[in-house]
Every structure is written in C-alpha cells, then in structure tokens.
C-alpha cells in the first residue's frame, strides 16, 4: 500500500513537472517572426564545431560579415557568435562557452561595445542569455549582466518571467514549441533591402572620452583567455556610420592593441578601400550593411584574415565542402525569398 502511494506521488510530481515544463516552453518567446536575433546564440550549438574563426560582439558583427563569403573566397570556416547589444562581459562569457566545444585559430572581437558601455536591458539580456546552454559561463554571464529588476531565478525558470505571455500566445508559440527553423547563416543576419545613409548625425562632444576601466578589464579578460588557448585575437571596428565612433576612443583601442601586440582593424577608416557605398550597401541608413555591403566587407576582411592571421584555405576538405554546400542552398534561398518580397512590395 505504501509502495503504491509512493508511486502515485512520483507519477503526480512527474506529471506536474512535465506540465510546467511544457507550459514554460509554450510561453517562452520563439523569436521566429520578426525579432529573429533572439535565436542567434542558440543556433551555434547545432553546428559542427570546427571553426577557424569565431566572431564575437553585437550587431556590428552579425550584420556586417558573411561567413559564406569567407568560405567561398578564402576557405575560412567561421561562425558569428553575435547577439543584439552584446555587452563586453557577455562576449567574454560567450567565448568561455565556445571554448567548451572548440578552439578556433582566430577570435574577431567587435570593439564598439567597449567604450559605449550601454546599460544592460532585459530584452537584450534575454536574447543573449536565454540562448546559452547551461554552464558556469552562463551563470556568470547572467550574474554579471542582470538589471536590477531581473532575478537569477527568472533565468533558471523562465516561466516565472514569461507567464503573462499565456494571454498573448500566437500560432508560432505552438509551431515552434519543440524546434526552431534556422534563421541565421552561421550567425550572419541577412538583409538584402537597401536604405541610403542620409542626415547621419555627427558625434557631439563628450565631457570625458576615457573608456570605462571595467569595460577594459573585460577586454583584457578576452585577450588573456585567447592567449591561454593559443588563439589570435583580432580587434575590429565595423564600418557602421552610427553610433558615432570617436577618434579619442579609437586612440585608446589602438594603444591597447599596440601594448598587447594585437591586430586592430578599423574598417570605418577602410570603408572606401573595401568598396563600400553607403548609398547602396546599407539597409538602415548607415547603421548596418545589407547583403551587398556585408559581402564586399567580407571579401576585404577575408584577405586580412588570410594575409595577416595566416589562415589557410580549407577548401577541398570533404566534410566541410558538403556542409557549406548545404549552407549555400539556404543562403541563396533566403536571398531569393527576400528579393521576391521586395519585388512584391512587402
């Protein structure tokens, strides 16, 4: 009789736990409709992890570099572990997380977030942190970047955070209850539309241009982690015209790179050399590149990775060729779909 009661209790507990788990999956945002950036971090885990280059940073990496071009033109196997408004501390923990799976030859880190030091926002935190698999790196990333209004428990049990979405569910919440469609191209967010850069505001004078020491500390942690793992760290400033990149900030990054013998590439200064035309190569007036711009920039940057980082082409490796062939199909399909939508006036 006791055994029967015990078994019943176990069944009830399992049933409740299972139901809560399902409920949690149901109410968590799926990021499949418009804000697809929320899926970027998680998509990495389904990849074959044998990358030569890992990009880290915010939209300045995932909207400006095309791993497809790096592969096709230079045989470089790369992945962008970028996310919206990725904080420098988050980049560090994402690097730690990446190293659990693979050790790339080169890590390219976008420096925009270092001086900008944006205050954490819950929506961005969620897009970056919810996608990470559980590890000490994720725990520390959460603890380091939570806003005052957030709680660690909400990340452990997202149901606590998203329960109110139960009244706002859409068809996507049911369709993507157990899976997501691929939304990025090795972390690259493809946009084929175009909006010329006009009226881009100049940066206003600042009272103090000194980059926050805590931010520099995380940059340093990224550098040390790369050093410890024999990875070449490359610092990069994407050629985005806005947010404004001050010369005074650039000088501090240059000094840091020189001090630690790092390669720093300010692509903003090399936009003409890369062949970028901000009348045609941006989809949002100069903030981010469209496909045409990202392909030009990747063509330019790939040569830097090859010539200055000594990366050799891996074209011809059977497994990689097969994987990229499949990726190329999805790349062309996504491009054609977006072009058709533009042609149809959507």
């Amino acid at each position: 009789m006791k055994k029967k009661k015990f078994l019943s209790a176990v069944v009830i507990i399992l049933f409740i736990a299972g139901s809560l788990y399902l409920l949690q999956r149901l109410v968590m945002p799926k990021y499949m409709d418009d804000v697809v950036e929320g899926n970027f971090i998680a998509e990495y885990y389904d990849e074959e992890k044998d990358h030569d280059v890992i990009f880290l940073g915010d939209c300045e990496v995932y909207e400006n570099f095309s791993p497809m071009v790096l592969w096709e033109e230079y045989g470089i196997n790369s992945y962008i572990r970028g996310s919206a408004q990725q904080l420098v501390s988050q980049s560090y923990y994402i690097l730690e997380d990446t190293l659990r799976y693979e050790t790339p030859d080169v890590v390219v880190f976008s420096v925009l977030a270092v001086p900008y030091n944006e205050a954490p926002r819950e929506s961005y935190n969620r897009m970056t942190l919810d996608g990470m698999r559980w590890s000490l790196s994720k725990v520390n990333a959460i603890l380091d970047s939570m806003t005052e209004e957030e709680s660690f428990l909400d990340y452990v049990f997202p149901l606590l955070r998203y329960h109110s979405r139960i009244t706002e569910l859409t068809a996507d919440d049911f369709t993507y209850l157990f899976h997501r469609d691929l939304v990025s191209h090795n972390g690259y967010y493809m946009r084929v539309d175009s909006l010329p850069a006009e009226n881009v505001p100049e940066g206003r004078p600042l009272g103090d241009y000194t980059i926050d020491a805590a931010q520099m500390e995380y940059l340093d942690k990224i550098r040390i982690l790369c050093e410890e793992n024999g990875i070449q760290l490359v610092l990069v400033k994407a050629p985005s015209l806005y947010p404004y990149w001050y010369d005074e900030w650039d000088a501090q990054i240059v000094d840091y790179a020189n001090e630690h013998d790092l390669l720093y590439v300010n692509l903003l200064d090399q936009a003409d050399e890369a062949g970028l035309d901000f009348q045609t190569d941006t989809y949002d007036g100069g903030l981010h590149l469209n496909l045409s711009g990202a392909e030009k920039l990747s063509h330019y940057f790939g040569a830097i990775l090859r010539d200055q980082c000594g990366l050799e082409s891996r074209r011809g490796e059977e497994a990689l060729e097969a994987a990229w062939q499949e990726k190329a199909l999805w790349y062309q399909e996504d491009k054609a779909r977006q072009e058709a939508e533009i042609a149809a006036g959507n």
Partner: protein
C-alpha cells in the same frame, strides 16, 4: 475510481498553477518590450526645470515626440536609428542649429532624450550659446554645478543642463533628463 480522483486532482493542480502563473503579476512585458526606461512624460514639461525654447515653444527632455512635432513642426532633416532586434527606433531631428534626439520609453512611445545646440546661432533662454566662456556660463547659471572632466552640469527640476568647456570655450550645450 481512486486513480480517477487522483487524475482529477492533478488536473486541478495544473489548472491552478496555470491560473496562478497568469495572475500572479501584472507584468505583461514580452521579450520584445524593453525593461526600464524613462518614466517621465508630460510631467517633465510641467515642472519648473530647465527648458529650451524653439520657435517660441518650450521643449523639455521627457516630452513626447508627437507633442514636440505638434509644437515646433516637422523638419526634413531626420535621422532614424532602429535599435538592434526591433527594440524601437531612435530619431534625431535637426532644426537648424538645434538637434533633438528622441528614444522609446518603456511603453514604446518616443520621448525627447536630449536637446543639443549645434552652433552659436542658437542660445539657451538664459542667453548662453556655444563658444562663450566659463564666466558667461556661471554668470547665467551660477556656481551650483557638478564637474566631471570637462563637463559642467546643472540640475533644475527633472532636467539636467550640461556644458562642455574646452580651453575656456563652451563646445557643447545639452539638455537631458536628470535621471539619466
């Protein structure tokens, strides 16, 4: 029969959990809604803080973008900067010598974040403009400022007025919310 009762109990517990989950908070934010943000709206305009005057209209940080446009009119010089991942759009409106930036508040409504003077054709209501001196600033606003680097900041009501002074010359004048 006993098993049936237990299953019914389970179902009830589950429904209760779901109801509790729905009802235990008024927070309806989703992932696409920014947490935090400015809580000031028209209240900022009503207090007795600093304000800037454009086309004879009072403008203050925290004022709704729509109210601003209704007051001072449209301009052709607008730059829109969509935030990453659909978290609203920041706008920079340039009216001659004045640049006004609006950003979305917690409810997604754009409000004035900063008002900045671009050249010495514009001046504050107290008569200070770019390229004037520290003495001109203190003559107009007094000595009750806080200094951080080259930035001198006065706070009045919910508005903060910041001057940047380099080599005794004012190079920036900017209004923003004191809470930021």
């Amino acid at each position: 029969m006993v098993m049936k009762k237990k299953l019914t109990a389970c179902a009830l517990i589950l429904c209760l959990s779901a109801l509790l989950a729905v009802g235990c908070g008024g927070d309806s934010n989703t992932s696409t809604t920014a947490a935090g943000g400015s809580e000031t709206t028209a209240a900022a305009a009503a207090d007795e803080g600093f304000y800037f005057e454009l086309n004879g209209q009072k403008l203050v940080p925290g004022m709704a973008q729509d109210d601003m446009i209704s007051a001072v009119g449209e301009t052709d010089n607008v730059f829109s900067a969509p935030s990453c991942a659909g978290q609203g759009t920041d706008y920079t409106y340039t009216y001659g010598s004045v640049e006004i930036v609006t950003i979305p508040n917690a409810d997604g409504v754009n409000e004035i974040s900063t008002i900045a003077l671009r050249d010495d054709l514009a001046s504050t209501p107290e008569g200070v403009s770019l390229y004037m001196t520290t003495a001109d600033m203190t003559a107009a606003y007094g000595e009750d400022y806080t200094q951080s680097g080259n930035a001198y900041t006065y706070v009045k009501g919910s508005v903060k007025l910041s001057f940047i002074i380099e080599n005794d010359e004012i190079t920036s004048i900017e209004y923003s919310l004191a809470s930021e």
